[in-house]
Symmetry: D3
Subunit: 341 residues, 6 copies
């Protein structure tokens, strides 16, 4: 499998995020900072930063805003080989406006992501060789929730990747503004037979999938109903918009083992957007790189997510050595240096 061109291909919508500068509000800002993102692109970018070869599957306009997105994707060292161009005059990139919070003011989002180019993407627009080009394929519930047609395309792609021996990774990533819990459950239950690696938070498991029991029982139950290899669940506590804690558990079905480490406490949050995707990036990297020891996936996932929270934008900004140092210090009990100099 090592000879595949990409370690990871992700499928999803590329979005333009527009945010007022730190602590300013959308309703009166004079400038918007631009960030290109999107749940699955964030994952691809994170995995690329850690050193694997990734690419993005989707469709974006061929206009200047599409070019802006493409330039940012290039900057992340994520391939746009399978990112289709929409040349039609109604081509548009989805937009969301995001404003960070400061207690007791909460973060706010305005979505403007309908009728975008990704809705026009069709399965047969992609070359056959794409389906044998990756070790792993990832997408999430947001993509399934866009509309019926996108969902069909996504499931078709997932099925074809699976057929060609690709690991299938899926994140529930439930968004109440896109579909109901019931819609999500039905749809996701249909694709779970295809999935190898399943990301689902404990609360979503309970609310959407009516799971009961301890968190461990909940995670395990998914592997009894579906042929999942790995289930991962994150645990975030929001003390305030500028102070979070974060941790996670990974369950491996074949060994019936749970992997966990102590949470990151008192994260000084600069921008929390994309920190869930950063976890998935770290965890997938760990799974792909160290499949024999999922404690790596937990440690790397937690560290990447914690780091992401401390930088602006949707993507993490790091290199692997920094992640390793953070893990080392997080796991050590002794005093740590303030910085190297």
């Amino acid at each position: 499998m090592e000879c595949r061109k990409y370690d990871l291909l992700t499928l999803g919508e590329v979005l333009l995020r527009l945010s007022p500068p730190a602590n300013e509000r959308m309703i009166r800002t004079s400038v918007f900072e631009q960030n290109i993102g999107g749940a699955e692109l964030n994952v691809a970018a994170g995995v690329a930063q850690l050193g694997l070869r990734t690419g993005m599957i989707g469709k974006i306009p061929s206009n200047d805003i599409g070019r802006l997105a493409r330039n940012e994707i290039h900057r992340q060292n994520v391939s746009d080989e399978y990112l289709l161009s929409d040349d039609e005059t109604d081509a548009r990139l989805g937009i969301y406006f995001y404003e960070g919070g400061a207690a007791p003011r909460k973060p706010r989002i305005v979505y403007d992501r309908r009728n975008t180019s990704v809705y026009k993407m069709k399965a047969d627009e992609f070359p056959e060789e794409m389906f044998t080009s990756a070790r792993c394929f990832h997408t999430c519930g947001i993509t399934l929730a866009l509309d019926e047609k996108v969902r069909e395309t996504a499931v078709t792609l997932m099925r074809k990747f699976k057929e060609h021996g690709t690991l299938i990774s899926f994140d529930v990533n439930f968004r109440g503004n896109l579909w109901s819990g019931e819609e999500a459950r039905k749809c996701i239950e249909e694709i779970l037979p295809l999935v190898d690696i399943f990301f689902c938070s404990d609360s979503t498991a309970r609310l959407t999938f009516q799971k009961k029991g301890t968190p461990e029982e909940v995670m395990k139950s998914f592997t009894r109903d579906y042929p999942l290899s790995i289930v991962a669940a994150t645990d975030r506590t929001v003390h305030s918009p500028k102070n979070h804690s974060f941790g996670s558990v990974i369950y491996e079905a074949k060994s019936d083992r749970f992997y966990k480490e102590k949470n990151y406490e008192n994260i000084e949050v600069v921008d929390r957007i994309g920190s869930g995707d950063a976890y998935i990036a770290g965890a997938l990297y760990g799974i792909l790189k160290y499949p024999e020891d999922l404690s790596q996936a937990v440690s790397i996932g937690n560290a990447v997510s914690a780091l992401k929270n401390t930088v602006p934008g949707d993507f993490p900004a790091m290199d692997f050595s920094e992640v390793l140092e953070l893990i080392y210090e997080h796991q050590s009990d002794g005093p740590v240096m303030e910085m190297k100099r």
Copy 2:
């Protein structure tokens, strides 16, 4: 008529413009400067800056981006009394991305203005008293070009304002990306019987309305075919994106007179967007304030447009005294002071 609540109401779409900082390009900018605009809103803002009472008719989302627009409209001292709120989840404000030029690089625009809240506006959403509240009503061809339904609403409003003795002002403002010349001609010819004040550039008159002859003959011909009182035509020369010249002619039907003055040469253009609307603002102000002497409309229109070119954003930024001083110096032959101090 002096007792009417507004001197001018304008109907049209409110847009969010996003621009990279000076000389930066859309395809790689890290921030976008925000400007609220829209052809008819620009006119209302310009007339308000000169000192008359204006208001905007249209529909915008009730979300934070709609609030941003409303705050900026308030800042212009334009009333939003008749600016409807769209509370639906698919509410959106139209967006356009604009990048200024530097010779030989031309300015560029990306439109993302479909499926916006203004498309949902209906004539019966406005209170009856609106139609007797203004001395003058203005809209332009962009609004008519949006779609069939908006066009119908616009014509209905125009008709009702006309019935209640409101002066009707209309700017052709042809945009090739919204409709064809032929569509435009047909539609506009249907509304011209309602129009009192008609803004149409010489080139549009020729290309779209197949007019022939000298510019003056072209202008006059419109008043023979339709009961127009005033026809105004602007004349812009683009030496480079940063250097324009600008002038205009106004024809008054009842006196059969043409009003004109020497052009503004070598305008140091900072942002040309909205300079056409600024002309209309100045001209309408002149027409409403000094109906007996349209040379005022020409002078004020030219000066306001020239000034607009020198400031960033869609709106002019001035007060009336500055316009008067500029006109005085433009028309004088002697030396002028560099500045007052």
Copy 3:
């Protein structure tokens, strides 16, 4: 009374605030961020943001800096109908320089607010119809402290508004750099017979008015000496320049009831200036909108003040729905969503 043109008119000085960017110091900053403010204007802006019709009474220069102020006041949707223009060559807008703190460095202020246009304001410059145009009139101790003449004008206006059935609201807002406690007490005791709604912090009540007893006894005692309907007192704890707690008590004389709720703890303070005025805005809004249930005034006042602390500038930046959501969550005991998406 519903037919009055304004829900609230406030009287006071409009100021230009100049601040270095976040964490920079005045003594070496290269830019100053501009904010228009002033205690009573902040109140008018806050009440306007919540949805009532407000206006500002005062006097500002007719130069470009006065125009800047007017534009910002327009942006707040506050009427400048009764904001006089000072055309004289010595016209000036008061300025203050403000620098935020970071523990243990405290915020700093430099005042440059003498000899400003508001000092020239005379009672007879205002039209008679002003005095019947508002449901409520508000001013504060800062205005009384400016000088003898301003004080006289303010008292004259207060008296005339009172005569025309306007609710009179007054905030002590003691500033040691403008007058002594003794001067303040004497002056304020003279106007208290005119006041309906009285804002006075517990510490000011004790230091300036020599009040003794529990906080509740202190508040109540004012209503025994003067015909006040409502007394409101705020309670701010400054843990550090970037971390405050805030709460308040309102006493209603006719029902002899105290209204209170739990404090907002660990407010992540971005800019504390204007947060006291924001409280008054929220409380006055509650009093005017829900006169039968002053618990609303407490909740809204506290929430608006807490929100104000989290945004830069003198004015709050919010809409009413956000305030309601914050109150709902503040009062609920269960878990709250991090954000809606």
Copy 4:
């Protein structure tokens, strides 16, 4: 004379200039860029940049804004040894708001410079040793125009410097908003007997001093009426706010010679404020450094002024070697390198 501590001391008001960013307008800017300046301080800063030892005489507040000014003066390497501190609570630094122009929009200034600390400066506040510490003393008409008391102080200082063998330099620098031409003439004629180096533009000479004849006759006539050694006159042509030409003539009485060179044409003006003071800085430097050859004063003065126009702020920003290179190229006829690399 070489052993004097300073080559030049200048007397005048230190001002805080506040400007909107490039091309933005005062009436709606969200930030102001800060520049410390003042006609005589600009001269002292320019001479210091060229390498001589200079100091500023005046009075500024001891508050944070005064400290800001002092820090900027230190940055210019200008001594503040004789810059008094005003500790009173009404201490204030004069402010002016400046906005650059773009044709046909002209630059604009709003002054807020009354009642400032410099008005309180008294001649006896300065130590006696000051009067023997400098080779040259410079002030200008703005300082004389502030008020009667400042004028007296200025004349007293001028007289005492003169008595101790200091060269006296004076720039008419007529400002119509501070005094009338008649007031200026009277006052200046009284001090001209003290002056050695006299800066007066041709137009001011004609308008204010009723001079007639060729420019050379005008300049020469001053030396017949008063014991002036040197008269310098500048010649600026404002093609547009962003395009000026500049040149000058210097007349030396003892040799009865005029010094002149070709003008700088098509200066790409970034900020014209202080370019007149920069000329004086360059010319005074030339006079002090190369008293035997005033063609140096002309060349350096012109070059420093041209350079100043190309940088933001009130002060020039250069070093002497750059000035020499510019003069060399300006005076050569051959092709010049675009840049060194």
Copy 5:
């Protein structure tokens, strides 16, 4: 040859450029804008923007500044496969400080590019497959001028690329601060036998290579002495730092033809750095894409260079369609649209 992995590989030094914001000076700026560049990287970036596959050969530090460079190179869609990492503690990226000019102030450069990681690059650090991976190899005189060892490495690489059938492109790019004309001539004459495409300005040909005759004779003479296929010469006129004209001539040896078009006049220069490299990018693209018709190389080279001048930074920022439109309009005689909308 179509199956080669890259269309173009370039060899050279990657530099960090630090520039003050527009019109500010290095000697007092408070921020530096960052741009990654370098003559050959600029070429690779330009060719990549036009749509071909390019890569950069060189060596940069493995520290955070090296990562910054790598991220920017990724953003340009230029491969860093052959960009070596320097892990040693003395690793450093070359830096240059650049300040733009405004007439009569000239642009200025401070170099800090000694002892950088590229000096440590050795020929045997690159994999053998590199030499068969590209259709074309490009480097320039700056790289040869760095030092003896770099020169040897460069010549070794050039020779090996040549041996494997790669087109060799070379730009003289003479920099007087790196070596003398005589050193340059000697060194370049040694490598010219390897070169296919030779870029040399007319003035360099005369000064450095002692060429005489008409420009066309000069160009042709190189092809008589060496087996060059193509010689290209640019022609830039610097009217002022903000206004240039630009054109070029290309000579094809086999057809003995000169290709030329009219110059771009009055380019509104925003940043001239990299505009020479942009020309080479456009010309190389034309040569590689349309080898049969070198008029394309001239047109594209000129257009890309003109465009580059109008954007900040070292790299162009464009896509191919924009270049085509510019060429079309440049070559047409009729009126052109101000912009599409």
Copy 6:
């Protein structure tokens, strides 16, 4: 001794620090904020801000970046009389890139400070009068660590200052990236016989000098081995990159007394760079100003360091009155005002 020209001269390297804006990362920032600093320059700047006369000894390039440094040094009111100019073409100013942290992300530094102008500094380049011009001389271990030659020069200067009765102050300031602990120990033990005032943290004393015992015993032991008058040790606790605590102890040998006060807790850290140097500045100021009562040195040192942490850049930004107020409040137990207004 009062008649010496400087209170303090410091010897060391002047560095250009380049930092991304708040919370942004070096590996993707688009701008770098510039700060001039360097351990000993930071000390000189801090002492100058408190009111004493200081100067910097060292060597910097004579290019524009050297001029930038000189301008910033002037702004600090630190004399550059003994700061040599390096005119050679390889002159360079040392650079370091610094990025602040946010938990759990730590601050990061990239050094690029080799082969700089300071390495060329020689003892005989300084005038003899320098050695009698200061009351106190200060340098630190960083300077000794640069290389053998700099170390020799530094020791030579130290010796000559000592010979002329100058107090010698030395800060160990151990940097593991410049030398090993063993190298440091050896070198420092050689100079300790010259030192009067010795700054060494407790952890460095133990790790580098193999000291054992209580902190007090450690400090005292140095004074037994060497003729030190004063030993000072700081105590910083890094709760997170944005939250530190800070305190210190000073030991006076002659009185055998330890001076100490309670630590500053919960410092809201904006930029920690230079806070150690700020401590030394405050402590040296205290020692020089109040030699009879070293509790002043402790209090001022602690306060200046705490203040420094709250402002960006390498230098503190304060005046003495603010320091006194902070000390007063730090030492008082009662409630403190939020701010003066």
